[in-house]
Subunit: 191 residues, 2 copies
Amino acid sequence: MTPERYRRICETLDRRQPDMTVIMDGVHKPHNIAAIVRTCDAVGILDVHAILPKNRARVAAGTAMGSQRWVKVHKHEDSTPVIRELQGQGVQVLAAHLSDTAIPYREVDYTKPTALLLGTEKFGVSDEAAAAVDQHVIIPMMGMVESFNVSVAAAIILAEACEQRRAKGFYDQPRIDPQRYHELLFRWGHE
Amino acid sequence: MTPERYRRICETLDRRQPDMTVIMDGVHKPHNIAAIVRTCDAVGILDVHAILPKNRARVAAGTAMGSQRWVKVHKHEDSTPVIRELQGQGVQVLAAHLSDTAIPYREVDYTKPTALLLGTEKFGVSDEAAAAVDQHVIIPMMGMVESFNVSVAAAIILAEACEQRRAKGFYDQPRIDPQRYHELLFRWGHE
Ligand SMILES: C[S@@+](CC[C@H](N)C(=O)[O-])C[C@H]1O[C@@H](n2cnc3c(N)ncnc32)[C@H](O)[C@@H]1O
Ligand SMILES: C[S@@+](CC[C@H](N)C(=O)[O-])C[C@H]1O[C@@H](n2cnc3c(N)ncnc32)[C@H](O)[C@@H]1O
């Protein structure tokens, strides 16, 4: 590993946000998964959860997921246990969801430990997940089409979260525990 | 046309922003073009410019572009004349471009007449376009990957533009001239 590479990896690890995550609840198009995971890397997310029925996981795990070396994608078959576990850890779980009770995405405090759940390309967030999360958030739409592409919606909300965390200095000093830091430093250094 | 449909079309036309546009300078993947045009609709953009070499235009004009009934996609073979014409009309042309002189995207005033130029998936913004535009803007990246997906980058910047315009009341009263309004009302009503 060159010194430049080592420095770049350390800088990235110094900015990782262990208390921010994304749950892709049935998102299945590889280009959407790839774009979401790439955006997660860019805002400092370490772990992403992908809920996929068994027969789909293999497809999505191909190029799209495999190419993402810097974000760990955890696969699950059902979202409710994931939501419950995060809530148990004190994480606010938000669903990007076009419901009547949704609040505008810029009104949320993303400096709290936060998970953002996204729905499927076709049917959106399931009733079950919508009921389990703590809050629905919406990006106001001014046009004829009723929703954004899912990777676009994820990016708009995560960019706001990133901005809020930047303003509060969350990227200015290491936030992950030393053990995970060194594990990742070792792994990334050998990719 | 049902009264609901009529009302929805009028509401959308009332929010259209004639002084905001996007230039896709060589973006060629259909799913990226589709996502960008869909985002444009959602923030109230009427016209988008697509620069595509002749042999590519046909492919991209297929599903991706055809499905976008609410945004007019103007095709061109070269970006410089488009940039020059917009500048001649008093529009600030911004390139989303990862250059040394780029300023953070949240520091820009998007309530001015604005065009946002995006580069190709692989090579980014051309030297020619980078030199012709008025300003480069960048979305800060905190991770290992060097850039966002192009439709994601477009969405992050356009969402900020939308927010600024919303705060200033730009979506609260009609902004397009009566002739175009009625043309579009007629056309959209018959789609
Ligand atoms: C293409 S949309 C799903 C559309 C689906 N027909 C529905 O009504 O929910 C896919 C996902 O993107 C996210 N999304 C899209 N537009 C959004 C918006 N304006 N606000 C919040 N989330 C949005 C949501 O997570 C949604 O489940
Ligand atoms: C995948 S990127 C191109 C990457 C290319 N290797 C480069 O260095 O420019 C495609 C386009 O998305 C936009 N883009 C991606 N990430 C961006 C960022 N962080 N800031 C501004 N624009 C970005 C730019 O318009 C860019 O030309």
